[in-house]
Symmetry: D2
Subunit: 346 residues, 4 copies
Amino acid sequence: MDRVRIAVLGASGYTGADLVRLALAHPGVEIAALGASQKAGAKMADIWPHFAAHRDLPPLCRTGEIDFGRVDIVFGCLPHGAGAAVLAELAAPRVIDLSADFRLKSAETYADWYGVPHPAPERLEAAVYGLTEFARPHLADARLVACPGCYPTAALLALLPLAEARAIEPADIAIFALSGVSGAGRSLRESNLFVEVAEAAAPYSVGRHRHMPEIEQELARAFGEPVAVSFTPHLLPMNRGELETIAVRLAPGARVDDLRQLLARRYADEPFVHLLPEGTPPATRMVRGSNHCVLNVFPDRRPSHALVIAAIDNLVKGSSGQALQNMNVMLGLPETLGLEAAPLFP
Amino acid sequence: MDRVRIAVLGASGYTGADLVRLALAHPGVEIAALGASQKAGAKMADIWPHFAAHRDLPPLCRTGEIDFGRVDIVFGCLPHGAGAAVLAELAAPRVIDLSADFRLKSAETYADWYGVPHPAPERLEAAVYGLTEFARPHLADARLVACPGCYPTAALLALLPLAEARAIEPADIAIFALSGVSGAGRSLRESNLFVEVAEAAAPYSVGRHRHMPEIEQELARAFGEPVAVSFTPHLLPMNRGELETIAVRLAPGARVDDLRQLLARRYADEPFVHLLPEGTPPATRMVRGSNHCVLNVFPDRRPSHALVIAAIDNLVKGSSGQALQNMNVMLGLPETLGLEAAPLFP
Amino acid sequence: MDRVRIAVLGASGYTGADLVRLALAHPGVEIAALGASQKAGAKMADIWPHFAAHRDLPPLCRTGEIDFGRVDIVFGCLPHGAGAAVLAELAAPRVIDLSADFRLKSAETYADWYGVPHPAPERLEAAVYGLTEFARPHLADARLVACPGCYPTAALLALLPLAEARAIEPADIAIFALSGVSGAGRSLRESNLFVEVAEAAAPYSVGRHRHMPEIEQELARAFGEPVAVSFTPHLLPMNRGELETIAVRLAPGARVDDLRQLLARRYADEPFVHLLPEGTPPATRMVRGSNHCVLNVFPDRRPSHALVIAAIDNLVKGSSGQALQNMNVMLGLPETLGLEAAPLFP
Amino acid sequence: MDRVRIAVLGASGYTGADLVRLALAHPGVEIAALGASQKAGAKMADIWPHFAAHRDLPPLCRTGEIDFGRVDIVFGCLPHGAGAAVLAELAAPRVIDLSADFRLKSAETYADWYGVPHPAPERLEAAVYGLTEFARPHLADARLVACPGCYPTAALLALLPLAEARAIEPADIAIFALSGVSGAGRSLRESNLFVEVAEAAAPYSVGRHRHMPEIEQELARAFGEPVAVSFTPHLLPMNRGELETIAVRLAPGARVDDLRQLLARRYADEPFVHLLPEGTPPATRMVRGSNHCVLNVFPDRRPSHALVIAAIDNLVKGSSGQALQNMNVMLGLPETLGLEAAPLFP
């Protein structure tokens, strides 16, 4: 088989860099172009010293320099808003966008939460929301795939099977989320400095994080009715990893064990989603650097409530890994190809 | 004024050591004896190298070697169960216990959660639950004060004023708690190893942590009815600090702003409890090493819900600092004496 | 006694903030003014949330707004070059400068290493190099004290007694230094981001760190001849703390134990410098948050060599704590006043 | 090609677990048996939750239960002394030992440093010291390969080409080494607890670390004369990674640039050893999780001295990765097979 030729737009961010790391391990991929307008001309190893051994990667270039006619798949790793116009224009190569631009179906909701009009509202309807485990039938022919945000990925893997079965109440979902700092990107903000984060834990964007409407959109689809969820992210002193502890109210007649059974059945054959043995809490160290998600369900002390807990690596299953998983499905490749690496621990 | 002569039982644990650190800074205290049976004969600096400059501290000794007749206040920093019998026998010196032994009013509840019969059930009724800000009237004459657990301290400071005012619903309280590793003590368990904790976040004791009944006991007292709370602690890669994000349902007619007002009024004159400016989330770095608690209230996205967030240093306000604060009140000293140090940041 | 009225210029940096933290604990000090030109008008608690409980501190102001006539001591915590001109003009209040501006005696050396002409060369000769343990006779009448850099503080405490006794060879001193990130300041540089530092260790400024000429100047004074030292700093994933492992060649006839004896004698009565028991390696956790320095000497495997190891808190003994220690000496106060706090561990 | 059937003895330690992680990614390897006597019967996922997705690995078993007749290569990942007797007896399968047992050529030196008589001195002579880049000619026929210790790996990659060329003086080598905590193993010691290590840096085993004689043995071979090196390891708050900053004295006539040229030439075609661009300091984040080593040379401020700096991942190139690299060479496989993964950053 010929290798798939990919272009990565935004290779100078954490997401883009981790996509390159994973693509290097993918036997079916050739990295054809690396876009990073502000760093055009530099080598990846210049801005990402962990690629010191990979000085043969294509040099960073401006988007306009890429010959998209010779590219099969474009990965958009740009900040929201920055790449949508470009990506929306691309006809020939299929697009997998890792930004927030094509996740929300409503241009109004996008404008409300992101503060700018949507750059390409006409593409929203056909864009496929790429939570792979729930998107496979739509991926085969997709021209534009919007990869879920990292928090929504963990939340939806934990909740969608329960919502579809109506085993939990839509009105009473409280998501407490923990994330490593790589989720905040490589931007020079005081809140990302080592000294501010180390030996510290703090919530942020309380009550107004942009992943809220995305979680709600997909839960609403599963429930068949509008949903408003409580979602509170916290920043922790670690590089990678995301853990969500979700308190849910059981639907009338449902028991905690039913939730376990629903997840067990739904994910029995999934290569990347794993229900842990009863009583074992998920932890981010179980998935570091890998495309896996670990899940579990616990009784809550409040009657008729349960806790559903999920952990992923925010940069892999929460971002670049899922993007490659989507690519594999889009191209008819084995879904796990290039993503088999076991987690890195310690 | 003569200095208060104190004895610390359990000076070889983190709690005992931090009590010694704080007592050294207290101008009204003389450290008369340091109990640590397994390390008897050693110097504090031998087992706690950060006391290298304090080689004049009394040597560690067995409990039986202490002349309690020449001690004014005994601080119990032993693991639960280990010191209760000794402490219960002590008549003359007043006792401030930092273990879990005298916090629960019911010997049955104690036996249920700690797995052993209570060693001195006859002392439970008179023991004062020492959440200082709510215990002052009872501290002046107290012979035995039970300092709250670290998690209950933050949870109750956040919730008690709301419960007393019936501004929130008792049936719908979900506490998500984050803690540094010092909360787990200096015991040699795999889960406390650096490599297991660093670059990791994980919940533990899900649905069955021993601080649950303690929180419920005090909330029930405030609400005037039994309460079952959801409480899920998580271990984080940091030494000190505790943060609790608490989702509550508002009582009929109550608004989010009412919660802020209740906390603002209740703590307006408190030296150690601070409602932050609207919109500023509490963080553990704001209180590290100090006896302060920072609080705030946020609207939740779910209608009729709110988020109450609190941060403390688990070893200070959550343990040894509060113990000294209680001592100050018991002895009629200025309540902040020896506890004025500002937090250590970075 | 009346309280000493101090002004802190540069209260928006880590050094300035830690000076404020320490000054708040000093019973003889009143904080009269806090300069921070770019943040003028803000409160300390706005930019340093760990001062949430200290909203009564003076507001931040521009230097020009300070009435220096009502100030006894000015602490300069500005970046090098930024404050020298101002400080050099001040006649009335005595100045303790924590920047690099008045440490080097030679304006040429300053220009070589800092890349700009010295802003006030006429003040260099009279400025006292404030390594307190070696500067006491000169501090009483000093108008301008230059506090040593953090690395030089640890290096000189370890080496000066050995150099003065000619127990080591001046030509063969190799200093390997480790530092927490607070040493790099609160500036928004990629290299200070959490993600770049966590799970990482790396040398920086190899062969050209600005603390080199300062160490050499003071060693040369002690040896009575010019010295060139090897000095390699490394950045570590921690907030505070500095450790230096120094390989030295013994002078003819000197033995490793002689070095121990020299340090033991020199520091026997020092309140802040401690030779550890034989065989105990210094560690930064022994001094965190305190003004202490711990030292030790070990045989090296190479014949006629030894290892001298020192640890300090870079922001306290390495900066703000030593500045207050100098102030105490300058004013005839007890030298340890306000600096007695034991280290914070964990 | 048939897959190579491997057995891993000591799969319950960090080294063994990381070997399993790497072996899972190696297309030519089948994991036939996993020895871990104290955990026999358990699954890897039970003791290493990051293998949650790999529940099909062979169960842990006692050494005696392994059918070595059906194994091609045995990897010894046991503590020193524990496995030597077993490994020494094995005739049929070839052995790659990751312990210290077969590294030293002299049984006397082993007894001196490890405190016990060597368990199989008759095997020492034929054992190949497996620093791959220097051992290839001997690996093809080796029956027993002793993988170097983690510190010696970095030190020797940095120094051997310089020693062989006599560009540096054997009498003046000072190695300052930094290591993450995984190097200390998963043993329950106070010094490995999170709280003791976080926010701390400290040297250990000063002047008496067991990797000293190993470094000296190999340097002596290269120099053709006995060598005594200064070697001081420090423990840092990070999981993985090792950095060595080595001060050397140049041989008469040699210049710093000669050292760079020697390393450049020696490693020009090496897939895993990389001389960085001039002026770029090595950092552990450049190699995390990978089999790469990054190197550089800097002028020292002392005349006729230089600094050689190297970084590796202690568990990969410093242990399990190098073991697989050796296996590839022993079996005539492409040397990089299964080891191509790029470093994990962040």
